[in-house]
Symmetry: C2
Subunit: 651 residues, 2 copies
């Protein structure tokens, strides 16, 4: 039922969902474990429903699975996670009764069948199905569980399989309520199995190849200074709360002080972000920390980790990954996580307009931070409609308060722009040179504060990519995986609400760049950090840093620069003073990495039981009410708001 | 510092703490990964401090570590997780200044040393140390971090290493506050590294050998019906709470309904047990579930799992594990988790006293449930002192309201007992026969309700073992690992407070024993279950069951037998009706298993950052106060008790 027939027909089920099959006759796309797993150990079946082929003809087999469909009163198609097998029921009187029962069983009922593998009659082989050359002639069958009711029609569930578009898709909420049905789909089976195998390969790399120690750290922790977005857990001590940590950061640094040298953990982390889309209140990170290491060595470790765990079917990954400084990323892509699968880079054309007649550009350039910057949309004349340009203009105005100007070099060589007439030939020529402008291209110009102009153009660049792709231009190949390091971030940023004060660009434990360390006491705003982000196709999938291991420096950063009460971190400061080795690490966002790897549009498609956008588990109906008696050991009571809005997502 | 010198001297550090070393010259006791891990990849050092030996003489090496001690102004002993290396500082003028600095550095300071491996001078080799034949002649050194203050004397920390007794042990609280120092001890390094490797082997067995899928299930769940001891987590919806689950039970059953077929997870679980000793509010279980399986097959899987992941150094494990029914365990050991490393089984001697003159025994035996039962303490005449017998008597009275009688067969063949004179020769002879009584043995008799007598004798049996061991009798060899299945538990038990009602002996999802299934509607109290416990040396280390997969049966158990509101589990019932396969599983308590494996007296010795007995993290001081403003998004406020007792463990 939940298997998409389209998928079955097109590639054969085993390529889609049976990555771990024991039979060598099929190609196995997932990273192959050294020993092929035995999928039939310790269970009633002798084979999975996906593995039988001509080589098994004549064998007696036992299969267990779900009734996918019945045909002509003589066939049952049986399904398990591994595929489909056709069962043929012979015309014998002795099993006539059983046959009738089986044919009348509701779809999705669970049965076990014993029989003999036989070739399909001549001309009836289904070559698009991995088991399509054979069928199993039933000798005996047993009903293990009758399926009594399904919340939606079988057909609709098939269509509603993730990744398969349908006009009659059942509402997301109904599917989330019955998540166990969606889990039967080949797409979710594939995603979860690939996730399991990639994580296993990462463990092999870290633990078996490089001697990392898998250490579990507590999740009942305490609130970190300034740690908003942390769930609280009341304890039995009045007024005292645990918090669920956003990361094991402090614990992993403590492990380094404790001489545990090379640590990793597949760590559950928590962040209460209310209704931010496509975030989960709990998520998983591959958490790593090492002693006696520097930035380059950690990056090398991670490149090896990704390469080792990368699924074979997704093609090879080249290492080392390219690296880009934060300022280059902001300058060329307007964002600190550039999608380098396509060009359309931001170019500075301030010099072109140094003596322009266009007054607003001249005004902007008279400011020290002013700049004129541009992206060039190849064949924009063809693909960008008037309405698109209007939308882009609105977006730039609304989000960034930036005015845009468009300059088109028409296919006939003429220029089209609100300012076409004022543009001198020199300017035109310089513009062509600076942007490598070709006939048919459109330039999107913005002028203003350089940083703001970059950020606006970074956003417009992605917007233009969306538009071009909607018009059929292949820009961002989902089969290409562009890993990228972004490095040399600033250590501190001016606070948004009071720009004369500083906050950590990442976290207060990040070490300054060695070349800038001397500036920390005089010009902290100019200090680069030893933080590095790992970016994949425009998504941040990890971040880490070399940490401060010197107590005085850590104390100075907390007290003097960040103006925080270092007493809340006295345990960490004390630890740094007790023989802390130099150390650093990284955390990879596992959910996001897997989602990008399998091409899922949401991390919810790589999590078995995700929460809804509003943080609810629609299957079990969590969170739920708890009685005052059950709260009393925790010394808390509910503060009911004056008006309680009872707007469940379910209703 | 934190390395116990006694351990270093006796067996050589590498056997104790360097299980993952890359060098083949040392025996490696831990389960050997297929590829030896490279412990020096991606770091500054070329070798660990534990791996250098005569084969390295002449090589230039770089080591990183902590100063363990300085000697005679010419030697430094450098330590890392892997061992100790002696550094010799040459008498050269050029490094005189550096030498002075190094010799004055506080112990536990972190340095890196470059030098050449040389043989120790003749007669100075330390053969009890794995690196004792060599030393490193320093060419260069760098101070990476100066250790400024330690909360206790280095010496005391050495002595206070877990597992090493000392008279001057610092208080537990002080050590917990500075857990990172304890983590440097060879014992904790060993425990945590062995834990990591055992878990890795389990994953290899499950994932790579048998195709299990590692699925992460949510920890923000909802309260289970009747689930006391669950931490609540307030959400942003007024009055709605998540709960931290005690196990992924419901989710793993949903995975089976979802066709995920064979699932495992190293799952963090939560239980709020207040101040129960040696429990942790969060703990870890190896959680497993399979479809199309029966009890015997799951037991076989687990036997294979334990055997595969068992550390080589702990000797071989025999499989299959022996099995004992619940009633046999209660009858012979008075407990459902018998320690079978020693005999001293409970024996029924009711028949011996059927016609006794001893009036209270006669009285007891006139009741239908009455029984006279006995354990026999070999050489008890020699080892049990009068005071011991008094203590045992008091214990039996206080805990179980049972009276005891002692009967000793003296070495000279005479009988000693309060009732010696009334015992007939026939009774004496039968008693000898029933208990295999030898000269010098002592019988401990109790009479009364058979079940209560068993439980009391079960407790006394362990108490006697303690006494005998304190007198030097080796009864429970810590090097023996007796795994045992206990099976055929009752499905339901009478509720303690209202014995006419039933509660689940384990949990309401447990399936009845197939032979007893018909009794469930008539005599539920007589139904055995398909639950099984895995016991190791008298400790329950795991439990599981075949689950109910039939909706009607599950509904009947919840509503009719347990009188629970099945509406709270409607999602599970609905799932069972949607094509749930037969399934079952198990959960192994990882912390306990590892503690028993390494011989730790507490699970806190196998957890990096354990909570104190009162559930506090003494290092970071969690749980901690949270401001009313931080609580307001969660719509809760603190209910301050009239009297707030400020009794911190720390003070």
């Amino acid at each position: 039922m939940a298997l998409s027939r389209a998928l079955v027909r097109s590639v054969g089920l085993r390529v889609i969902c049976s990555s771990t099959a024991a039979q060598p006759v099929q190609s196995r796309p997932l990273p192959a474990p050294k020993v092929s797993p035995d999928l039939n150990s310790f269970v009633f079946r002798t084979h999975t429903c996906g593995e039988l082929c001509a080589a098994h003809i004549g064998q007696e087999v036992r299969l267990c699975g779900w009734i996918q469909y019945q045909r002509q009163g003589a066939f049952i198609v049986l399904r398990d996670f591994d595929g489909l097998t056709q069962i043929v029921m012979p015309q014998e009187e002795s099993i006539a009764h059983l046959k009738k029962i089986l044919c009348e069983l509701p779809l999705e009922s669970v049965i076990t069948v014993t029989g003999t593998v036989i070739p399909r009659p001549p001309g009836q082989a289904n070559l698009e199905m991995s088991t399509g050359k054979i069928e199993v002639r039933m000798q005996h069958a047993e009903i293990l569980n009758r399926c009594k009711k399904l919340p939606f029609e079988t057909n609709e569930l098939v269509k509603a399989s993730p990744g398969v578009e349908t006009q009659t898709q059942k509402s997301e909420a109904l599917r989330m309520q019955h998540r166990y049905l969606d889990l039967r789909s080949s797409q979710l089976q594939y995603n979860l199995r690939l996730r399991s195998q990639m994580v296993m390969r990462m463990r092999e790399y870290l633990c078996n190849l490089h001697g990392f120690v898998d250490v579990e750290t507590p999740t009942l922790f305490k609130k970190t200074p300034g740690g908003a977005k942390e769930f609280v857990v009341p304890s039995r001590e009045p007024g005292k709360f645990y918090c669920l940590p956003q990361s094991p950061q402090q614990f992993k640094q403590m492990l380094m002080v404790g001489g545990l040298d090379r640590y990793f953990q597949v760590a559950r982390c928590y962040r209460d972000e209310g209704s931010k889309p496509d975030r989960q209140p709990e998520f998983t990170q591959i958490d790593i920390e090492m002693s006696f290491v520097d930035q380059a060595r950690i990056q090398k470790l991670i490149e090896g980790l990704i390469k080792y765990s990368w699924p074979e079917e997704k093609g090879d990954i080249d290492t080392p990954f390219p690296s880009m400084t934060y300022s280059e990323a902001m300058d060329s892509y307007g964002v600190d996580k550039p999608d380098t699968r396509f060009e359309m880079k931001i170019v500075d054309v301030s010099e072109v307009f140094r003596n322009t007649e266009i007054s607003f550009l001249r005004d902007v350039l008279s400011h020290p931070c002013g700049a004129v910057r541009v992206i060039s949309v190849a064949d924009g004349v063809k693909y960008l409609k008037k309405k698109d340009l209007e939308n882009l203009t609105e977006l730039a105005k609304a989000l960034f308060n930036q005015d845009l100007t468009f300059v088109a070099l028409q296919p006939d060589g003429t220029w089209k722009s609100a300012h076409a007439k004022i543009l001198t030939n020199v300017e035109k020529s310089q513009l062509c040179h600076a942007t490598n402008l070709q006939k048919g291209d459109v330039l999107i110009l913005t002028a203003g504060d350089r940083t703001m102009a970059n950020v606006a153009l970074g956003k417009l660049r992605l917007k233009c990519a969306d538009i071009l792709e909607s018009r059929g231009v292949a820009l961002r190949d989902p089969g290409i995986f562009n890993f990228l390091w972004v490095v040399d971030f600033p250590l501190f940023l001016p606070k948004e609400d009071s720009p004369e004060e500083f906050e950590s660009a990442h976290h207060p434990f990040t070490a300054p760049h060695p070349d800038d360390a001397h500036l920390i006491y005089r010009e902290p705003g100019k200090v680069r950090s030893q933080h590095y982000d790992l970016v994949l196709n425009g998504n941040e999938i990890g971040g880490g840093s070399v940490r401060i291991h010197n107590m005085e420096l850590q104390h100075y950063v907390l007290e003097k620069i960040l103006k925080e009460d270092s007493g809340l971190l006295s345990h960490l400061l004390e630890a740094l003073d007790s023989g802390a080795p130099p150390h650093g690490g990284i955390a990879l966002g596992l959910d996001r990495l897997i989602a990008l790897t399998v091409g899922a549009s949401s991390i919810r498609d790589v999590i078995a039981f995700p929460k809804s956008f509003r943080g609810r588990d629609l299957m079990s109906n969590a969170p739920d009410s708890v009685s005052p008696e059950e709260l009393s050991p925790y010394h808390i009571q509910v503060n009911w708001p004056a008006e309680v809005h009872e707007d469940y997502e379910k209703s």
